[in-house]
Structures are given as structure tokens and as C-alpha cells.
Amino acid sequence: MKTIIKGGTIINGYGGNEKADILVDNGKVEAIEKTIESNDALIIDANGKYVLPGFVDMHTHLRQPGFEEKETIKTGTHAAVAGGYTTVACMPNTNPVIDNEVVVEYIKSIAKRDGYSKVIPIGSMTKGMMGEEISEMAKLKDAGIVALSDDGHPIMNAGLMKRIMIYGSMYDLLMITHCEDKMLSGEGVMNNGLISTMIGLRGIPHEAEEVMIARNIILAKSTGARLHIAHVSTKDSVELIRRAKADGVNITAEVTPHNLCLTEEIVDGFDTNTKAYPPLRTKEDVDALIEGLKDGTIDVIATDHAPHTKDDKKVPYEIAAFGISGIEIAFSVIYTYLVKNGLITLEDLVSYMSINPAKLLKTSYGIKVGNAADITVVDTNKEYTVNVDNFKSKGKNSPFNGKRLTGVVEYTLVDGKIIYKNNGKFEECNV
């Protein structure tokens, strides 16, 4: 069925910003014109709203297979489209791990059956994410992965990491690295600093991240691998990446909405919903992360959507699970904290949340004639109060619960179909 998105302001991701109508048919953008009329088209009234390329999350935990009590491909992608995401790349820390083509095929088939958004699996770097033997990367690539990561299990062995980079580069696979020196982070559960000293929780020093980023930069420089630094959180990490880019290293980086908008202060009170890796850092770090986004050091805002059960979090802070469920409010969080405060523009947001991650995952990007109609319509005038009980995700673990945010996702179209409409109507599966 034809759909016309009427009267919205389109930010197309190619630098354009115009008020126009979009005709969608056969899953693609058929036309973009000042005015498009049709008698047999479904009309989406986008007057006063922005029409954006659907968001792409390159760091999502869908938890299926293996941890369906935390999330499933169905609930995770439902949450994704509610957040305006049309494509998500899911991390391999499932059970079994995404270290073979069977699991890739399984995820793709469940996504086809149950999924709301598009799903791109990320393969593990090592078998079982054990950090010992390299995974069958070529087979994984053929099965459909475009990136490798051992997610929260950093490769501590530098020799192995180098071999992963050399082997994986034959297949042009993006190396997504969680940078953490486990010997330095130790038993830490929050940022090492004033608050950890004050409330007696063990701290994770910023060096734990920076030491590993520095090592991976050195290895990427020598191997030429495409290195992507997951969830950057410290000021000095930004500086390391900035210097590496200037030095010609093939490196990109991402930051999470919570690391961009919250600081360690909110851990005071022991709310386990504030527990994430990397931990919430200081205001100085947050300022450096924003600066890093603005000057192009950090390319992507990725959610690191990490849903957990209530029981995983209803425990003392030290043993609570790390992670924040955030995919369905990511846009509002970034809009409220960064765009509304004049720190970045809405066009920048589109680059960080849609265009740049799509390029890294080698999927289509931007709104133009002939492209897949993966489109998100947002209303930046509306406000709401976050209520985790309304989350589509099974994970209700958000430190933003109760916070007032601006910017609402009104429609999400995947391949031209309205998969999500605010209030829940028009939801379809089988993307």
C-alpha cells in the first residue's frame, strides 16, 4: 500500500533539510516533492513534525537465544521501533554465543518471524567468547554478520587480538571492542572517584578503559583493521581516539545516551538502575564526550540497550547486573539533554543515531528516492514522563524513570510499513 508522509520537515541525512511530502511504495521512497497527492494512499500527517531516517543502533542486546526472561527478539525490536530504530545490530553474548552460522541463521529467522525492526547479528571474535580461539569469521560473514565483538569480554591477550584483527580484516569485518583492562577494573562497580570514595563502593578507574583503547589503537595501526571503540566514557579515551584519527588509524567510536547525559552523582543512593559498564563518569568526562561528538572524534550514539529482569537489579549494588534498558527513550534523552540545550543540532543527532552507524554496518542510509523507506517521524514539541512500566522492552532498568523528556517518536516505518505508531496502533511484524 502507498503511504504519503505529508507536510513534515525532512532531515534526509545528506545535509538536506526541507519541508516536503514523501511517497512510499513497495517498501521504498518513491518520491520526495513539495506536494504529493493521491487518492489511494494512507496519509501520515507530519505537519509540525520532523521526518528522519530511521535510527540504527549498532549496540543492542536482544538476549535471544538463551536469556529470553530478560528480552526476546520480539520484545527488543518492539522496543526498538518504539524508539524510532529501524535497524538494530545485536551483540553476540547470547547462549549459545553468536559464534557460528547456525546461531546467525536462527536469529535472522526469528527476526523474520517476530521482529519489528531489521536485525543484524554481530558475530563473536572468539569461540564462545572465551578469548582463546578465533571464531569462524568467514562463515559468520557469509551467514550475514558485518561486525565482530566479544562484547563485555575484552580480549586480554594482545597476541590473540592482533590475530583477530589480521584474520577479520580479510573479510572487512568491523572490530567492535569493549575496552576494559580487567586487572584494572577489578571488582569495581561504579566510577572510581569522589562518589565511590564517599559511599564505599569499589571503583572502576578510567585507566581501565584507556589502557585497552591505547593497546587496540596500536594493534589497529599495525594491522590496518577497522577498529570501533564501543561505549567510550572518559575524557582521556576521547583524546586517545582523537589522536589516533589524526594519525590515520582506521578507527571509529560510539557513546551511549546515559554516558552522555548522566554523571556518577546519581549512584549515591545505591539505585542499581544506575549500574552500567562503562560506569557513569564525571561532568568533566561528559563534557569531553560531547566535545568528541561535536568535533567528529566520536561517530555514533549507540544505546548499549541492556535489558535485565527486576530480580537482576533488586539486589545490593555490588551484585546487581550491569546495564541499562534504553533503546526506546534514546532519542528523547538525546533530544532533551543535547539538542534542546543547544549542544548539538537535530541534524547532528541524525548523523550520530542513523547515518554514521548505518555506514559502519554497511546498510542503506538516509532518505532519498530509491532507498528503503526506513523512516521515523518525531514530534519535538511533545513532552512526557518516562514510566518504565510502559516500556515495550522486558527490561525496566532505567535511571531515567520518572524523568521528564522532550521529543516523541510518532511513527516508525520499516521498509515502508508503519510498524509503530505512538499509542500502539498499526503495529505489524515480519519486517
Partner: protein
Amino acid sequence: MIKKDVLGIRDMSKEDLIEILDTAKEMKKIIEGEKISDILKGKTIITIFFEPSTRTRLSFEMAAKYLGAHFGNIETKTSSVIKGESLIDTVRTVERMKADVIIVRHNMSGAPHLMAKYLNASIINAGDGLNEHPTQALLDLMTIREKKESFKGLKVVIIGDIVHSRVARSNMWGLLKLGAEVRLAGPATLLPKTFEKLGAKVYYDIDKAIEDVDVVMGLRIQLERQKSGLFPSKDEFARYFGITSERMKLAKKNAILMHPGPINRNVEISSETANSGYSVIEEQVTNGVAVRMALLKLLCERRKNNENNY
């Protein structure tokens, strides 16, 4: 008026502290007199200790009994694999037994805060992880108050493994609120400079730290910290950070020596010094019962005044 729960000294006001210390002074008269009172008649006090303890637990038991309360105790063998959900389930069961006050010790910072969030009973933190040990600090404050006229301008040094010490944290908050100068001393691996941002003075030279102070407080050193590389040996610790009679001479003439116990003799304090005239360690124990009586009394009174709210 103190809050529903006693979770830490940091969230108490100066007035709360004074009220508790004044009440404890009254309570001490009971201990030193007939040792019987019916102030808490009909009240049920339960201790749940997820970490081994003898003196703190017994101190609470004596406090409850001196005030005529029903008293029960649960000891739960703990390990890092004990999940908090079972923690909440355990204490909910206790609450169903109509406990008015539940006293909890846990090896994880914030565990009593979690319980306080889910329970109607008043929670007293008897030590949580590295965070706070409010009743120890209160008994220390009571002891200092008995020996020194005022907290204002008093110089207190706390020596040892500060970063892992809930006793040090609670004492620091209390002393700073009451107007004392707090010095912290120990090896840098056990004492991050960050403590200066919290209002204390940090010293890595114990001789300088102890100079001219009114109160010297030693902390128990966990010897397993040596294995984890935080200090090289107990001998080296004793030589450079141990409290000796020689070092006590650098303090004020009438300085007092405190320790929460049990002492590793000749490590954090030389045996001779621990037994010397400086030491008020035994008085601390008696005062421990008094401040715990005071807290039980004040919490139960508060509950009575707010009955409709519980």
C-alpha cells in the same frame, strides 16, 4: 528527630547526632545502675548478620534486653553468591514476625538501604560493606565526648586501611559535622587523595599526621590486603604506620587512643600502647551498648509517634 531508619551518619543532621549522644548518656545510667528498664516493653528487635560479628551483635542484644524488648537473632552464612532477592525475602519473613526494628550487617555497601526501601520495620545499619558503620561511629563520638569537652576544633587522626573502612567513613562524617578536624593517615594504596574532597586531611607520613592531635584512632588491618598487593608486609605496615608509644608522644599530652577492635597487636597498634593509659578501648565497648539503647529507644518512640504512617 531521627529518620525511620539509621542507615548512616552521612545523612544525619548535627542535631540528630547530639540527640542520640544525649540519649545515650541517659542510657548509660541504666547500664551502670539496675540494668533493667521497660522502655521497649512489647517491642521486638531482631538482628540479622550476614557477616560474622561477636561484639556488635552482642552489644545490640544487650541494648535490647536492658530496655525490656523481645530479642531475636538470625545469623546467615554469607557469600558473594547470596542474591539480594533472598535478602529481601529473608527480611520480609522477619518483618512478618512483627519486628519493630531490624538490625542488619551485610558485606555489601547499600544492602540496608535496599531493605529500608522495601520494609516498614525500622532498619539499623550495623555495618554495610565499605560504606558505613553508624553505631560504631556513635559510640566513638560518645567516648570522645566524655573525654574531651567539645568537638569544635578537636583534632582527630584515623590511621590504617581507610578506603576499605566503614568505621573510618562514619567517623569522618560524624566528626566533620560536629566541628572536629579529621586527619586520615595510611599507605596511599589504602587511602586515596579523594578523601580530601570530602573534607578530611590526608597524610602519608604518620608522624606528621599524629602531631598535636587530641584523638588517635586505629583501624583493623585486613591482612588479606597484603596478598592483594595493597601493602607489602605487616612488618612494613607496623614500622611505617603502626601506632606506638613513641608516636603517641607526638600527640597532645592528654590524647586518647581508640580502636574498634579486635586489634592485630603489634601491627596497627603496639601491644604496649594498646594497654597504656592512652587507651579508652574498653570504655568504647560499654558506650556501644549505650548508643544502641539510645537508637532503639528513639526509633521506637518515633514509630509510636508515626504509627499511622507505618
